[in-house]
Every structure is written in structure tokens, then in C-alpha cells.
């Protein structure tokens, strides 16, 4: 029925070591006196580096402009994220003011060492790519971004070679591509097959499972990490499920909300490395991060979760 987090024998040894390393790193980065259990991690296939299975997206939620109250809320969310053991934060130039808001919050937090910065290049004019990526790095206030993705495959033929050059020169650590809402999956697959990617980002949740057919198995086959966006369909999935009580199996995997059900479903897929829910509320952030702890559904329960969720929609 379920796979206990403690049953590390089900995970590759490299993952176990990665988990232990992440736990040690978390201990160094966590505030003194913190009692938070480290989240479950998975290794980035190309490097073995451990990533907590729940990260943080910034689409809409961090686009608060010059609103001081909004910026304070964003800072509190990011602060809670690192307190809970989070690492990966994902953004894009497309997300309005999210980048400077993230950067301001990171500066207030003293630039946590645990940060894994995931950004995107988003311009149809490939000549503008380098300047845009440099502007993104400057917004974050980091010496180097960890992951750069070609956003929605926009001009990927021009951007990808440049990203690979930057990686070879040590100016990036990882290279990837992104899409969302099931768009351009055929082209996405072609790029995934033909290019030396480290990451892909796509939409995946109990109601949107198209990626299971080809992209997730292909990513696993090629050793490419997977970031799952839209875990809640921007809230639409949760609003549709809100009127239904949680089924009995939810308690067996430690879920107290449909959000946690969705996240555990997503991150328990063998090919998925990290889900990136976005939120502007600290309590939701903590609930999301709690989904990275405790028992995870096995394959049978995953099938049941998907069937039950679709039946309720």
C-alpha cells in the first residue's frame, strides 16, 4: 500500500548518501534550535546532488511589484521555505517582478547556502539571451545560477548551445528546458532525445498525467532530472477537490490536505525529482513541505490516487 520513508532499502545507495549529505547540509543551514525533520531528497541523475522533493515556484505568487506588504509576505514564505529544508526556487523573466522580489528576500535572509536557483531564458531574440540571463542573475544576487532552462522551448535551437557553452565554462551548473500545460510535448520529446540536458520541467499532477506516457520514462532513461510544475493547476485542482473529504488512504500516507495528496503523488513517481508548488502563504508553504516527509504512495496507491482524483473532478 505504501512505501515508508524509513525504508531506505528501496532507494539507490547513492540516494541514501545524498539524503544523508542533504541532511548534514540542512543542519548547517538551518536556524539554531530548529527541530524540522529534513525533507526527502532525490538525486539529480547527472551529478548525484541531492534535491528536496518539494521546491518553490514563483509564478504569480511572487509577482507583487512595489507592494511592501506583498514583498514582506514573499520574504516570509521564502524564510519558511528554507526553515523547512527547501532548496530549489524556480522563476523566470516572464513572471513579472518575481525575480527582484526573490532577490530582495534572499538578501534579507543572508543568501542561504542551501539555495538551488532555477531560472529561465525567455526571449525569441537569441541575441538578447545573455543580457537577460545576466539580469536574472543580478536580480537574484548570486554569483552563479544553478540551473538555466529554455522557457517553453522559445528559440531553443539558439539558446541551448549557448547554455551548454556557459555550463562548460562554469557559469552555469545545469541546463534544461521547460514547458507547461501539456504544450509542445512532441517537440519537447525531440529535444529531450537529442540534446545533453540535465533537467526538464513539465506539468504533472494526478489529473494531468500525459507526461507518464513518454516524457517521464524518457527522462528516466536518459538520466535527466524532472521538475513538476502546476502541481495544483494553479489552485484549480484544489478548488475542485475542496468539497470532497479526503479518502481513507490519505491518512495512511500522512496527508492532511488534497495539496499534500497531489504533491506526494507527483514526487513518488520514480522519474520526478522535485515538484515546485507556488504559494504566497506561509501556512500553505509549510503544508507543502510536509508532503516531502513521511510515507510515500507505492505504485498501486498512485494508481488509486489518480483514479479517485479524476472521479471526483
Amino acid at each position: 500500500m505504501m512505501r515508508a520513508m524509513q525504508s531506505t532499502r528501496h532507494w539507490p545507495r547513492r540516494h541514501v548518501l545524498g539524503t544523508l549529505a542533504a541532511g548534514a547540509g540542512f543542519g548547517l543551514a538551518a536556524p539554531l534550535g530548529a527541530q524540522v525533520v529534513p525533507p526527502l531528497t532525490k538525486p539529480i541523475p547527472k551529478s548525484g546532488e541531492a534535491l528536496p522533493v518539494v521546491g518553490l515556484g514563483s509564478w504569480i505568487t511572487f509577482n507583487v511589484g512595489n507592494d511592501r506588504a506583498g514583498r514582506e509576505a514573499s520574504y516570509q514564505v521564502l524564510r519558511a521555505f528554507f526553515e523547512e529544508g527547501g532548496r530549489l526556487v524556480d522563476s523566470s523573466p516572464m513572471y513579472g517582478s518575481s525575480q527582484p522580489v526573490i532577490g530582495e528576500a534572499l538578501a534579507r535572509l543572508g543568501h542561504p547556502r542551501a539555495l538551488f536557483s532555477a531560472e529561465k531564458v525567455w526571449t525569441s531574440d537569441a541575441t538578447r539571451g545573455p543580457a537577460q540571463m545576466e539580469a536574472s542573475r543580478a536580480f537574484w544576487g548570486v554569483p552563479r545560477l544553478d540551473l538555466m532552462q529554455v522557457h517553453n522551448l522559445l528559440a531553443w535551437e539558439q539558446h541551448l548551445p549557448r547554455l551548454l557553452e556557459m555550463k562548460a565554462a562554469g557559469r552555469l551548473r545545469y541546463v534544461g528546458i521547460s514547458t507547461s500545460e501539456g504544450r509542445r510535448h512532441a517537440e519537447f520529446e525531440r529535444v529531450l532525445r537529442g540534446q545533453p540536458l540535465d533537467f526538464i520541467q513539465l506539468s504533472y499532477n494526478p489529473a494531468d498525467r500525459e507526461a507518464e506516457q513518454r516524457l517521464l520514462p524518457l527522462a528516466a532513461e536518459r538520466g535527466v532530472a524532472v521538475l513538476a510544475n502546476r502541481p495544483f493547476r494553479e489552485g484549480g485542482l484544489l478548488r475542485a477537490l475542496a468539497r470532497h473529504p479526503l479518502p481513507g488512504w490519505a491518512a495512511e500516507i500522512g496527508c492532511r490536505s488534497w495539496a499534500q495528496v497531489s504533491l506526494k503523488f507527483i514526487v513518488s513517481h520514480p522519474a520526478v525529482t522535485c515538484a515546485i508548488p507556488a504559494t504566497s502563504r506561509v501556512e500553505h508553504l509549510r503544508q507543502n513541505m510536509a508532503a516531502a516527509r513521511g510515507p510515500m504512495p507505492d505504485a498501486a496507491l498512485r494508481r488509486r490516487i489518480a483514479a479517485d482524483v479524476v472521479a471526483l473532478l
Binding site: W59, I60, T61, N66, A69, S97
Partner: protein
């Protein structure tokens, strides 16, 4: 995109920073309307045009450029034409003082649109439970200012030569474009305030361009 909560906060921030401008503009419009009989339609229209021009300067710089553009990059291309409108409207009001008056239908449509902008739109936020702090005030909030401007344009005396007609057309363009753009943004947020914008623009255009638009005199 941005959240409805952050969008609503734009009005709160604009009102906190510019409420005195909104009060001044509304008071000025009230004085002009009270003195309408004494001023006559031509001078009254010109005075309202000057007030609307000031409104667009304030709205463009404070709300659109200062608050909205940081969360919606598309606004970067829209506020400059609206700022220019702030300079064009007083000019139009002055050069069309000798224009032909419009008919009954456009006058009534203008009155309805003006009442919507000044009396109904500011009530939306309080009635929706968001409080007066987030009220959309004409002169600060672009949608309310756009509807008020449509009212003014509908009732604007008709130009007698093609040059002034071109100026009038130039004034319509950014306002109608704004109504369309804002309606799309509000639709994306499932905000019911999207509903009146496009119909208001179409109603105003119809009232202005239709055969009923000309004075019988």
C-alpha cells in the same frame, strides 16, 4: 500574471498616495457641472477636458507606470499613449469649442457612462467586501478614468474640419485600447469588473458614430 489580491492592492496603494488628486478632480468636475448653464456647453466641455487631462497624467504616472507596470510588463506600452492623452484632451476641448453639438442620444449615453464611472465603479470594491481603501476612483484608477473619458468623447462637439477630426480619432484610440486590454486582464482573473468595459467602449463608439449622433438643430 499576478494574483487578484495584488491587483486589488494596486488601488489601495494608489488611493493612499493620490487621494487628494482624486478629490480635487471630482470637486472640480462638480463645480463645472454646477456652473454648466453659466459656462455653456462649449466652455463646460473644455473645462472637463482639462480635468480629464490632469486625471490621465496622474493615472498614467502614479498608477500605470508606478504600480501596475512592475507586475504587468504589457502596461509599459500602454501608459505613454495614455499620458499623451492627458495632453491631448485639454487641447481638444479648446479647439472644438466652436464645434457642432451632438444629438440627444449621445448626450444621454454620455450621462450614463459618466454616472457609471463616478457613482458605480467606486462602489464595486466596498460592495465586494474589499473595503473603501480599494475603491476605483476616476482620476486615479484607469478603468474608471477611461469610462469617464468615453463619456466626454461621446458628448464632444463635432469637428468641422478633417484635421480636428483626426485629433478626435487619436483621442479615442488609447481609451478604447485600454478598455479592451483591461477587460482581457480582468477576464483572466475571473473578475466580474471585466464585463462592462468592452460594452461601454462599443456603446460609446456607437453613440458617437451612429446616425442618431447628430443634433437635430
Amino acid at each position: 500574471m499576478f494574483s487578484p489580491r495584488i491587483y486589488a492592492r494596486l488601488f489601495e496603494q494608489a488611493n493612499a498616495a493620490g487621494w487628494s488628486l482624486a478629490v480635487l478632480l471630482l470637486a472640480g468636475a462638480g463645480v463645472v457641472l454646477l456652473a454648466w448653464a453659466r459656462l455653456g456647453p462649449a466652455r463646460g466641455h473644455a473645462a472637463l477636458g482639462a480635468l480629464l487631462g490632469l486625471a490621465w497624467v496622474g493615472c498614467s504616472l502614479l498608477f500605470l507606470r508606478g504600480l501596475y507596470e512592475p507586475i504587468n510588463w504589457a502596461v509599459a506600452g500602454l501608459w505613454p499613449p495614455l499620458l499623451a492623452l492627458g495632453l491631448l484632451l485639454p487641447l481638444l476641448g479648446a479647439v472644438l469649442r466652436d464645434g457642432a453639438p451632438v444629438g440627444v442620444v449621445p448626450r444621454r449615453v454620455a450621462l450614463g457612462l459618466a454616472a457609471w464611472a463616478v457613482c458605480v465603479m467606486p462602489l464595486w470594491a466596498p460592495l465586494a467586501g474589499q473595503g473603501w481603501a480599494q475603491a476605483e476612483l476616476p482620476g486615479l484608477a484607469p478603468d474608471a478614468t477611461a469610462i469617464a473619458t468615453l463619456a466626454w468623447l461621446v458628448a464632444l462637439p463635432r469637428a468641422k474640419d478633417w484635421r480636428r477630426r483626426v485629433l478626435v480619432a487619436l483621442a479615442w484610440l488609447p481609451v478604447v485600447a485600454w478598455c479592451g486590454f483591461s477587460a482581457l486582464m480582468l477576464l483572466a482573473m475571473d473578475d466580474a469588473r471585466a464585463a462592462p468595459l468592452a460594452p461601454a467602449a462599443l456603446l460609446a463608439l456607437g453613440a458617437r458614430l451612429g446616425p442618431w449622433g447628430r443634433s437635430a438643430g
